[in-house]
């Protein structure tokens, strides 16, 4: 090799090395930049504390949130998948909806977040598609100005008492994804466990009590807080955030138990900013992210090393939470909605 070619090759090698270093050092830079778009079925105000803490670690990632009631959001994502054009990087839905979209469109990309081993084993998805954020059980929320604590319903069956006629609100399965968990629990799970008074006839009786169907649990929270519908069939998330807001509301854990669905994130396979999406998912399951869950999404953390009490100081062990059978819900979603509509006489 002559001098000239030596210089030439050395120069080329340096150039390659410099390029490689720039590329390698550029990866973390890109991972901390750009816009992260989140589709959410939870109010964006719930996400604000998480976004604030996330931005302290990743100040150059701008997080944008677009909110729709769960079932509407599933429909929006479904249409975008049909157009082969997802418009977000990650979505916040429940486990059943995420798995349903995956089975129909291969919507999501698997990702195993850092420190995933600290997450409760029973909520970890072996396929790493569903990235759990928190557990969100159903409960009864009531307005303390309108209902005395001693008088408040103590069980799901108590809601059928005629004295609550025109006072109860629950979510409409046509618009809300989460209410499918409650419908499964009342119509299928409790009868299977031999608990009397449940099944589809429960909803027929609830209809007789003039239950009001709303598009989202957030609306129910506000109707309960205002006293317009002083009793709500509600998710913990709204019960907790209502308490945080200073509303005159309290919660009851019904004695038959509470279906607890998994609120989770998933990363779009077609995400435009996967480094930012992965950084978000890492943060969500991190100890810091999980410690924020009760004040942010308002639901129960899923890590072993994060202490948590339900609102009002109820210990987690004192509540009978029944894990939701999301596979059953995916399979029966349409039938559930049709049967529910029939029971409700519409």
């Amino acid at each position: 090799m002559d001098k000239r070619s030596l210089f030439k090759n050395t120069g080329l090698a340096f150039a390659l090395l410099a390029g490689t270093m720039a590329f390698v050092t550029g990866i973390p830079a890109r991972a901390q930049e750009g816009t992260l778009k989140i589709y959410s079925s939870s109010p964006d105000q719930f996400l604000r504390p998480l976004i604030g803490a996330f931005n302290k670690i990743h100040p150059n990632i701008t997080v944008e949130v677009s909110v729709q009631p769960g079932e509407e959001l599933v429909s929006t994502i479904e249409l975008e998948m049909r157009a082969n054009s997802p418009h977000a990087d990650i979505a916040l839905l429940n486990e059943a909806s995420i798995n349903g979209l995956q089975s129909r469109h291969k919507t999501w990309e698997a990702y195993k977040p850092a420190d995933f081993s600290a997450v409760h084993e029973e909520v970890r998805d072996p396929a790493n598609i569903v990235i759990p954020a928190c557990i969100n059980p159903y409960l009864i929320q009531y307005n303390t100005n309108k209902v005395k604590a001693g008088d408040a319903p103590k069980s799901w069956l108590d809601l059928l008492d005629a004295k609550w006629n025109g006072k109860i609100a629950m979510a409409d399965p046509v618009k809300s994804q989460s209410i499918q968990s409650f419908i499964w629990f009342i119509a299928t799970e409790l009868p299977k466990r031999g608990v009397a008074g449940f099944g589809w006839q429960y909803f027929e009786k609830l209809k007789g009590n003039d239950v009001r169907l709303e598009g989202s649990h957030g609306t129910i929270r506000d109707l309960t807080a205002s006293g317009e519908r002083p009793i709500g069939i509600q998710l913990l998330a709204n019960g907790q955030t209502s308490a945080n807001r200073g509303d005159p509301t309290a919660i009851v854990w019904p004695k038959e138990g509470s279906p607890g669905e998994l609120t989770a994130f998933a990363m779009f396979a077609g995400s435009n900013n996967k480094p930012a999406a992965k950084a978000w998912l890492d943060f969500v399951v991190s100890k810091e992210g999980q410690s924020l869950m009760p004040n942010a999404l308002g639901c129960a953390p899923i890590r072993d090393d994060v202490d948590y009490m339900f609102p009002g100081g109820t210990a987690v062990a004192d509540v009978k939470i029944v894990p939701v059978n999301s596979a059953f819900i995916i399979e029966n979603r349409k039938k559930h909605t049709a049967d529910f509509n029939k029971a409700m006489g519409r």
């Binding site: 944008e64 729709q68 989202s216 317009e228 509303d247």
Partner: protein, 575 residues
């Protein structure tokens, strides 16, 4: 453009061939544009309603056998007819009172009508829910306390069909009033005086002479109230009332396009039937002429004690359409928690801080304003071209273009948006990548508001004698120069009026936006509905509603000043 507007020699007129070229070009552009914007979505709805893996009538059978959809149809009809009839009764009476009597509060009534017209229906619905919710509505709480009623619910219930009718009534009344007030003003009082001379009482003259002559205006106003009520989405959605627009939205959420298409066809069909009835009812126009060659001075009629009744009705309307709902909303917007009511320490301006600092709301506002500005501009341009082709050319098929351009009047926004979803998700339009972007919202807005542009430009162009344009051509100006230098300046006030009107209507547009919303397509109306539906809460939603009302009201105020100067706000004066 030079292809069609070559400079001409001084003293020579533009050759007929060149005029024809220009006319054909404009006609071609207008046709392609309207087909893409209007005919194609309508075609999509029709085809989808008959399609389910092949041609079928099964979708219609499913619709006819669905108790829920039949109830939605019945509810839509009941609500729309109820609103139309009550609007006619109240709006017609007030129009007569303001135009022809010495009733008091005329300025207040006119102002309330304008505000009701520019208020998005869902804002009024929000106000009424806060006031007339059966359990915690401020009205009900006050009534129960005042009359010491033992019940814990009612006596008013806004979550009923009648509640929905009352909620949307201020808008319907405003449509009828603004249609009928000018008609009353344009009526020669000599006709009534003749009746009085023959021995008729004041009431008898109004009943036998005035009302029959007002039939076209009455039917137009009632039709407008009927059609807009049929198309409304926000109030029934918020009140949980099953109507066709809500059924279309629900079918779309369940991705049941066939059912959504049939529901849309039924909805459009009802609008078309109403339009036909109105056309048939006034087909002998000569019977209703009240303006002749002789000049007359509008005079008021002494209706005795009726004057006080009219004044009371006017005051009541202003209270119900303006003071009460917005008052309720303003109160709620200043509370920390609505559940804690009028207690010390429960007052805050934090809800307004949230509204003005939230990035998502800011983006939604910017998007709505951009879309409204773009829609207004393109609608005006389309209106000019289509009106020119229809009125100033002899192109074959121009009447079809005319019908095509006004077709969206009969298509509710929800149905139109549904058609766009289907069209832009499938080949070939999916290649444009519009779905899920602001572009599809712009298409929806243009389709909805093109009739306003075309109708306004046509009515202005009709007032301009063709001789003026011919004179321009005699003096060597080409077609384009003539339009630019003669026609446009003459119809400029109408162009400005149309631009502002479309802008103001497009800012709070909901019925199409709700179907098309996704990431980056949240508008002020969908953001507000989202906040009301739990994404922020009732107090924040009320603050947003009040802010939106002030914004739209200010825009209209600015428009009113401009239009007052140009003299184009006939019958719509503020104050």
């Amino acid at each position: 453009m030079t292809l069609f507007f070559r400079p001409t020699e001084p003293g020579s007129s533009t050759s007929p061939a060149r005029s024809v070229n220009w006319g054909y070009a404009a006609g071609g552009i207008a046709t392609i544009w309207l087909v893409l914007l209007i005919a194609m979505p309508v075609g999509v709805i029709i085809i989808t309603s008959f399609y389910n893996e092949g041609f079928t009538l099964a979708n219609y059978r499913d619709f006819a056998s669905s108790a829920s959809l039949l109830r939605a149809t019945a509810n839509s009809l009941t609500v729309s007819m109820g609103i139309a009839l009550l609007s006619l009764l109240i709006g017609g009476t007030l129009a007569f009172g303001v135009a022809r009597t010495q009733m008091r509060f005329k300025t207040l009534v006119r102002t309330a009508m304008i505000i009701a017209l520019i208020s998005p229906e869902f804002l009024l619905a929000m106000g009424y829910i806060l006031l007339a919710g059966p359990n915690a509505g401020y009205f009900n709480v006050a009534l129960r306390a005042f009359f010491s009623l033992p019940q814990t619910s009612g006596p008013l219930n806004v979550f009923t069909l009648f509640g929905l009718i009352l909620t949307a009534l201020p808008n319907g009344v405003a449509y009828v009033f603004l249609t009928m007030a000018p008609a009353f003003s344009n009526m020669d009082p000599a006709l009534e005086e003749a009746a009085r001379m023959k021995g008729a009482t004041a009431f008898g003259a109004v009943r036998d002479i005035t009302v029959p002559l007002m039939r076209p205006a009455m039917l137009s106003g009632a039709l407008l109230a009927f059609a807009t009520s049929l198309a409304m989405f926000g109030p029934p959605q918020m009140l949980g009332i099953n109507v066709l627009t809500v059924a279309i939205r629900n079918a779309l959420i369940n991705l049941d396009f066939s059912l959504a298409a049939v529901a849309a066809i039924v909805l459009v069909g009802l609008s078309v039937v109403a339009l036909l009835i109105q056309r048939l009812s006034v087909r002998h126009g000569e019977r209703y002429r009240t303006l002749g060659g002789k000049s007359f001075r509008a005079r008021t009629i002494d209706v005795g004690a009726g004057t006080h009744a009219l004044s009371a009705l006017g005051l009541f309307y202003a209270l119900m359409a303006l003071v009460v709902p917005y008052g309720g909303m303003l109160t709620a917007s200043l509370m920390k928690s609505i559940g804690n009511g009028f207690t010390a320490g429960n007052w805050t301006v934090e809800n307004y801080v949230v509204i003005f600092t939230d990035h998502a709301i800011f983006r939604a506002v910017m998007l709505s304003f951009s879309l409204a500005a773009a829609s207004a501009t393109i609608v005006v341009l389309t209106g000019i071209v289509v009106a020119y082709v229809v009125l100033r050319t002899r192109l074959p098929g121009r009447s079809i273009l005319d019908y095509l351009s006004v077709m969206p009047l009969a298509i509710p926004g929800t149905a139109l948006a549904f058609a766009l979803v289907v069209a832009y998700l499938n080949w070939p339009l999916n290649l444009l990548g519009f779905y899920g972007t602001p572009a599809i919202l712009l298409v929806a807005y243009l389709a909805r508001y093109v009739p306003i542009g075309v109708r306004n430009c046509q009515s202005s162009l009709l007032q301009i004698a063709a001789e003026l344009e011919e004179a321009s051509r005699v003096f060597s100006a080409g077609e384009f120069k003539t339009v630019w230098n003669i026609t446009i300046p003459l119809i400029l006030p109408s162009i400005i009026y149309t631009w502002i009107l479309v802008f103001i209507l497009a800012v709070p547009e909901l019925s199409s936006s709700i179907v098309l919303r996704g990431f980056g397509t949240q508008t002020v109306s969908t953001a507000l509905l989202g906040i009301w539906s739990g994404n922020g809460g009732l107090a924040v939603a009320s603050a947003f509603g009040i802010s939106l009302f002030i914004l739209v009201g200010s825009l209209f105020g600015a428009a009113a000043i401009i239009l007052k100067r140009s003299g184009k706000l006939k019958g719509l004066q503020l104050g």
